[in-house]
């Protein structure tokens, strides 16, 4: 496509100045936002309204540019070469009378579309500049500096269904193996009570001691009382451990749970 042009540019015949001028135009080829942008730039050199631009002339300018770039061994992206091929085709369409019976759009139609594209791109450039020249937030006008964020007051309401209620009650009732309900307060040891007791005792125990040994004597025989006291003691132990007053260990699953007073400066449990 550019073979005929290349002949005109023999290495020796290009003067240094010409060469520099060409380079100045071409070296910046990366600066062009694609072939359409390059065409627009070249079109501007025609100094005419884009509506009256000579597409034929533009095609020639473009092809010359590509030829120069090649001559200077500048790598051109494929886009530019595709456009060159298309413009060469357009040029031939514009110059030669249409072949009888040939299909497809006429050269004029193609040229008009290219002119439209150039005009549209130029217009978008123009409005883009106008847009950026507008007053901008954070530069020319400002939003509120002290914002009072809307406090999201999260009101939590709790709910339960009748089923929840019944299940809860059933849970409590099954816990005790359906023993007839009696208010046998005497056989329940509260954690508070166990805690109170253990707080005093813990100081006297030397090394690791089974928590079972902390059960009061009169709570050890009756299984119900023993169970309650054990649970209370265990809960109290956890509480004391949480307070950092004792350490708890259990050798294995179901092995005796042992506690001891926490010794200062000794890690581990």
């Amino acid at each position: 496509m550019t073979g005929m042009d290349q002949d005109n540019f023999e290495e020796g015949r290009v003067s240094v100045t010409e060469r520099l001028a060409a380079e100045a135009l071409i070296v910046d080829v990366d600066g062009y936002e694609g072939p359409l942008d390059l065409l627009l730039t070249l079109g501007r050199t025609q100094k005419v309204d884009l509506r009256q631009i000579s597409i034929l002339q533009l095609a020639e300018q473009y092809l010359a540019f590509i030829a120069q770039a090649r001559d200077l061994r500048i790598e051109l992206a494929a886009d530019y070469l595709v456009m060159a091929a298309w413009l060469a085709f357009l040029k031939s369409r514009l110059l030669l009378p249409p072949e009888p019976g040939s299909e497809g759009p006429s050269g004029e139609e193609l040229a008009a579309h290219l002119a439209f594209q150039l005009e549209r791109l130029a217009a978008m450039r123009d409005v883009a500049a106008k847009l950026m020249a507008r007053d901008q937030k954070g530069r020319d006008f400002f939003a509120r500096g002290i914002t009072e964020d809307v406090a999201r007051v999260r009101r939590v309401t709790h709910t339960a269904s009748l089923l929840d209620l019944m299940q809860a009650y059933a849970r409590i009732r099954t816990k005790d193996d359906f023993r007839p309900f009696v208010l046998d307060r005497v056989s329940v040891m509260t954690m508070e009570r166990a805690l109170e007791r253990m707080r005093h005792l813990i100081g006297f125990a030397g090394d690791w001691t089974d928590i079972a040994s902390y059960l009061p004597d009169d709570w050890q025989t009756d299984p119900q009382k023993r169970r309650s006291a054990t649970a209370a003691n265990f809960a109290a132990s956890l509480e004391l451990a949480k307070e950092g007053r004792i350490e708890i260990r259990q050798g294995d699953t179901f092995a005796p749970i042992q506690i001891r007073k926490r010794l200062p400066r000794e890690g581990g449990r």
């Binding site: 007051v153 009101r155 929840d164 209620l165 019944m166 007839p180 309900f181 208010l183 307060r185």
Partner: protein, 216 residues
């Protein structure tokens, strides 16, 4: 304000009219992230401006408005009028399931009312935290009943109308009994002879406060 502007212009050579200064102070107070002091205002406004005067005008202008010019330490800021603070809240209601402790306590109160705290603890086998009871009272699902005529005269808890309403019960007696719970598969079927609903022996003494329901 407009009538003051010319006088101002004479005395402060080249300074913008006071109405204009007021606009400036307004914009600065609005856009600045922190309260602004008078020297800061003066530093940002054109030479010869009188920010104190402009501020006084502005302050007056915002009197009774939705936002006011307020002094914070040595500095000035625009703030929401105190009476409109409620607009700065957006209430979102989050519904959560009642905790296990609360629902169990509630169930015990419902089935055993009137019931004392000690009794609740005995039935649950663990102590009942104050928070749990308070929460149920706050939800208006339980309330204090009559004091028990036993040593220490402990207060009792009963369920409220609100409770009945929420659970769609006409009376607490409508709560399904143990047999029905079992039939519904809520209790493991392990019939124990003689087991009924709670018997509440202690309540027998409470003849001044009739039990709300009979067991099945």
């Amino acid at each position: 304000m407009a009538d003051k502007a010319p006088a101002q212009e004479e005395s402060l050579f080249k300074a913008p009219p006071i109405a204009e200064q007021e606009r400036m102070v307004e914009a600065i107070l609005f856009a600045t992230a922190d309260p602004v002091t008078l020297p800061e205002l003066a530093g940002r406004m054109p030479h010869g401006c009188d920010p104190a005067e402009a501020l006084a005008h502005l302050r007056k202008r915002y009197e009774g408005r939705g936002v006011n010019i307020v002094k914070i330490g040595d500095a000035w800021a625009i703030r929401t009028a105190p009476d409109l603070g409620f607009l700065m809240q957006k209430e979102t209601v989050e519904v959560r399931k009642l905790s296990r402790a609360a629902i169990e306590t509630l169930a015990i109160v419902a089935y055993h009312q009137p019931v004392t705290r000690a009794e609740i603890e005995e039935i649950r086998g663990v102590s009942v935290s104050r928070g749990t009871v308070d929460q149920l009272i706050e939800m208006e699902w339980i309330r204090f009943g009559r004091r028990r005529m036993t040593p220490g005269r402990p207060v009792t808890f009963v369920v409220t109308e609100g409770f009945l309403d929420h659970f769609g019960l006409e009376t607490a007696r409508d709560l399904p009994g143990i047999k029905e719970l079992r039939a519904a598969g809520l209790l493991e079927s392990r019939p124990t002879p003689g087991l009924g609903a709670p018997t509440d022996d202690d309540d027998a003494a409470d003849d001044d406060q009739p039990p709300l329901f009979e067991d099945d």
